[in-house]
Symmetry: C2
Subunit: 661 residues, 2 copies
């Protein structure tokens, strides 16, 4: 249509068509995401990261989310937004894995009565990490990269058995995809085609030399700086959005606006550009657009806009020298940078990997051209391959934005099927990470923070050695006696929101508020620590009426199956009905409580507590004094409060307000 | 010489030459290992595994060991034993890393006064894991495999920052090797050649199909069974050796005997075989031997014996069909199996990877031939590639012997530079591991057990939920009061061998022996737990004379530097000289003790304690009762006692006697 209209002077027609073709899918996608499953917005990697970290984000692994995510990402990509489909794919893999592990779906009201043993938080989490790995394996054709991604993002305790199960899962995923692709390509059984995303392979002729390493370091530094700038702009934008764009209709409107802008900017750029390339190499490009160019040539910029971003990345890696002029790529980089930055955080399902790789590829190509012109100027005998620089540039940019090093290197190596560039990629990524971390936080990190999610980092802040449990812990603690009246328990459960209750001896009145008159340095105690019991367990006990008129022990009429059955949606205390007579019965917690729950001394450092939480995946930790008497409770939220900020070189320890979760 | 003598009927000459050429290097290597550094015997992987697990094996990371290991492995390989050089290379990498991290060498009496902050156990261990990864990267050209090897064998707590440092280290190692190789091959700067070990690449023509998967499963099962048989034979042999071969001279004699046997058996096999192959393909073979064959042909079996094992593996993977007849390969497999099994455990420096791959390659090739003849018999249209089966067979065999899955798959994929066979290799390795684990323990596992090393497995035994701290812990506990008389401390230190001492309040007599009259169920307590202090710290305090005439606190005249300076060879208590007057002085432990040391309740389960030890890398854990009073101590040795055995399908929980370490 554009090719026709450029001669017939009816360019408004294709423009309107383009705008509509962008706006309608994005509108539908955005409505779906905004009104049906807001958690499906964005790339999905941050929420999976949170989930694996142990934060309970509601609805992350529901079927509803999966459907909205899958449809939403298709609509976003069709709508021509600067988005990728890799993040959502990882999220989808995780949801499917979580669903399989439970053998039931609450949304579909179906319980297959299988896999009861997996209805626990940590079992489900293992499945989710395998699903995420399978998602990476399918998206990039990178089974090893998938395993490392899961580990880098999710694991805290290295578990050998789990790891090779994840590896098996991601290998099967890559293999099934490759099998399906082979059928799609009409050659069933030929399993060489791999990954939805294919960057093409570099031939053996493309090598690198030691003297190029300084260039890679420089590229890494620039990539890190650009990534930090990207993150900073996105941060400002997110703050702006959080303040002014509350209404759902506004969110949809913004998405449609971005879709229209994408089409408009692309159209104007194609119209204004007169950079024409010779037609060549069907393998690494498609959808070429003749436009103003002569026959047999096509618009270099039109090609970048009309292809899928994946294909554009491949073109940038493999097209020969001189395909694009620098005066085409420079404005494209600028415009795409802004569009990409604006798009991330919209209320649509969107990945950030591919657009960032595209930005980075353009940057690398420009860098390569710069090097090439310097080399030509000084007449060195050195053939600069711009495709190689595009690869390194893509790595630098992505590293600067998301700050993953190990898994990203392996994914890039696997996706390009070339181990030769292992060292350059690693060097670039490390430099990009250093420079980026110095300037600004990673993309996902500040989004956690804006979402007030109690995310625990790998390492405690440096100041952690001088912050002690007594400063971190929350008190007064609501403790329970080993045998409690049902009525009292009901009152405690409905008045508090705690998830874990220490069971103690010798605290006279568990409900009394001791807040007044306490000094911080010597907190009063709340009874001798005996064990810990969870709110969910208490609810199950109440629902199953495990109580008696006397104070005798009722030996378990409930088994572990009863505790797992309602998982993950336990009833709230208001749904438990207890008669007035039953309120006077007693309930004995001793058979059910975890009597070897971990506790820690009140003078332990934040550093040590942080390590304990990360290593053992704790959610609650009881703080005791030297006499083993409970003085406080530490939850993941109390720890996540201590967080360091990197903002342009300044590191500050900030005590953050985090939401419940 | 052999080619000449076969015509001149002087075959005794080359035989004698061969025997001498084998026996002399092996004799020298064995003498070196046996008399100078016994810890350098074997592959080195088990000791590195122990070291990373947290077991203190003496002399593992000394320079002396490095030199003996490096020379020893060269001599073993030159001596024609059925050994590889990969395990020793990993050990060497680890020693070098440990040396660099310390910035001093006690053996060479040189202290560069740098890297003081690394003179701690866990810092040094991080370096050792990086060194081991670098070793793998260099040996197999597999940087990612190296990282995974370090993690699979060594890591317990996943540390993101450490992991990418390891990855960087192994990438640099692979790169430097590749650079040196490029110079050696006369093409400096061409970095495509990778790894000392090169299995050659499979072309794109070699593919696999879904219907082959059952075959791979079968091969995995056979490999697992053969691996278990290998391990069982080696276990019997090791028990025999431990009982009868004590003297160093006997050990050397046995090594020489094996060397002579290797030459003899090989010679007889070459002499008896009349399987001749056409000369072909210089790339995948060398040292071809004409012997009885006609001109232009060579002895198929002679080639296997005369090449390095690495080259033979490559030949097995890539030589065309019909290179060997099954009647050549079958006796070779049998003989090599026995030789390999006999060799592992000799007092020489030797790796088990390559010979096992060779065995497996032969097995796979035989399997492929079998499949081929069945296919031919039934006239299927299916071209069976025996090289592919050799690769799978090698994986199956190695998996069956050493039972590593994740790292091994990645190493094999990286070493063959082909991701196509990822899924078959993973399936085969997993099946081999299952079958092998069902039948007999892994090679390294029972060697730990024979060496009575307190090695902690990944998982606690299944019975661990019903074994409690009070059954595991050691008591009575030697506790120290916060302020102690120097003389008393000296007496305690010289009378005990404990490495950690709880500091307690309110225990009247720290030296008294409470053993008599204690019941196991209600152990008496040894004072209220205040903190933990290490023997090494106490020695440093005594050496620096941090004590005073009165009971006042002497504020630290010692810094952390003083505690790290003598690392890792702290003086024993006998080397500390304290005058008679000083014995009456007091020493205050409170500023130095770890007052937030972990402690655990006496009713915690073995399962939970095991998890704590693995996740936090503990060495000592104080057991307290409900009143926070010390009732016992658990060390890694107490935990390692509980170990399950797999012997031909029967799993038994055995309480093992382990040595100090």
């Amino acid at each position: 249509m554009m090719n026709r209209c450029v001669h017939e002077n009816c360019l408004v027609q294709p423009y309107m068509a383009w705008v509509l073709a962008n706006a309608v899918p994005v509108f539908i996608g955005s409505v779906l995401v905004t009104y049906v499953a807001p958690v499906a917005a964005g790339s999905g990697i941050p929420v999976i990261k949170c989930y694996l970290n142990g934060v309970k984000v509601p609805e992350v692994v529901r079927i509803k989310t999966l459907i909205v995510k899958a449809i939403g990402v298709i609509l976003s990509v069709v709508g021509g937004l600067a988005v990728g489909k890799e993040g959502p794919m990882i999220h989808c893999g995780a949801v499917i894995a979580a669903g399989i592990s439970q053998g039931k779906s609450t949304s579909l009201k179906k319980d297959f009565r299988i896999f009861h043993e997996f209805r626990q938080d940590h079992e489900k989490r293992d499945f989710v990490s395998a699903g995420a790995a399978a998602g990476v394996a399918a998206a990039f054709g990178a089974p090893v990269g998938g395993v490392l991604f899961s580990l880098e993002e999710g694991a805290s305790f290295w578990n050998q058995a789990l790891t090779w199960r994840i590896f098996f899962c991601s290998t099967v995923s890559a293999f099934v995809l490759s099998f399906c692709l082979s059928i799609y390509h009409g050659e069933p059984g030929v399993l060489s085609s791999t990954g939805l995303l294919n960057f093409g392979t570099f031939g053996n002729s493309v090598q690198w030399e030691i003297m190029e390493i300084p260039l890679y370091v420089l590229m890494g530094a620039i990539g890190g700086a650009l990534g930090a700038l990207y993150n900073y702009l996105n941060y400002r934008l997110s703050v702006f959005r959080a303040r002014f764009i509350h209404q759902n209709s506004m969110k949809v409107l913004e998405s449609v606006l971005v879709a229209v802008m994408s089409a408009t900017v692309a159209f104007i750029m194609i119209e204004l550009s007169n950079d024409c390339s010779a037609q060549e190499d069907e393998k690494h490009t498609d959808n070429s657009l003749q436009f103003h160019c002569k026959d047999g040539r096509y618009s270099a910029i039109g090609q970048l806009w009309f292809q899928t971003p994946e294909k554009s990345v491949q073109s940038l890696f493999h097209m020969s020298q001189g395909t694009w002029s620098p005066y085409t790529l420079m404005p494209f980089f600028l415009v795409y940078f802004i569009l990409n930055c604006w798009t991330y955080g919209l209320s649509v399902s969107s990945g950030v990997f591919i657009p960032t790789l595209l930005m980075g590829g353009v940057f690398g190509r420009l860098f390569g051209m710069g090097v090439r012109s310097i080399v030509n100027y000084w007449d060195y005998d050195w053939d600069v391959n711009c495709g190689k620089f595009a690869l390194i540039g893509a790595a630098a940019m992505l590293g600067g934005v998301v700050r993953m090093t190990l898994s990203l290197s392996v994914i890039l190596i696997e996706a390009t099927r070339n181990i030769t560039f292992c060292l350059p990629i690693v060097i670039t990524l490390i430099v990009a990470k250093w420079v980026g971390d110095y300037l600004f936080e990673g993309l996902y990190d500040f989004h956690f923070q804006l979402a007030r999610v109690p995310f625990l980092n790998w390492e405690a802040p440096n100041e952690g050695h001088h912050i002690y449990a007594s400063e971190i812990m929350a008190f007064p603690v609501t403790t329970l006696p080993p045998v409690i009246k049902v009525g009292d328990l009901m009152d405690i459960l409905s008045k508090t929101t705690h998830n874990g209750f220490p069971v103690t001896d010798g605290c006279p009145d568990p409900v009394s508020d001791l807040k007044s008159g306490l000094s911080v340095n010597r907190p009063k105690h709340f009874g001798t620590f005996r064990g810990l019991i969870l709110r969910d367990q208490l609810i199950v006990l109440l629902q199953n009426k495990i109580f008696n008129e006397s104070v005798d022990i009722v030996w378990s009429r409930v088994g572990s199956r009863d505790f797992r059955q309602p998982y993950p949606r336990y009833a709230s205390v208001n749904q438990v009905h207890v008669s007035l007579m039953e309120r006077n019965f007693h309930i004995d917690l001793r058979p059910f409580m975890n009597f070897s729950a971990y506790s820690i001394s009140h003078n332990s450092s934040l550093f040590r507590i942080h390590k304990l939480f990360r290593a053992l995946g704790l959610r609650h930790l009881t703080v005791v004094n030297d006499q083993n008497e409970v003085v406080g409770m530490i939850t993941r939220k109390d720890l996540a409060v201590f967080r360091t900020h990197n903002r342009f070189g300044k590191t500050t320890l900030e005590t953050l307000h985090v939401s419940h979760g």
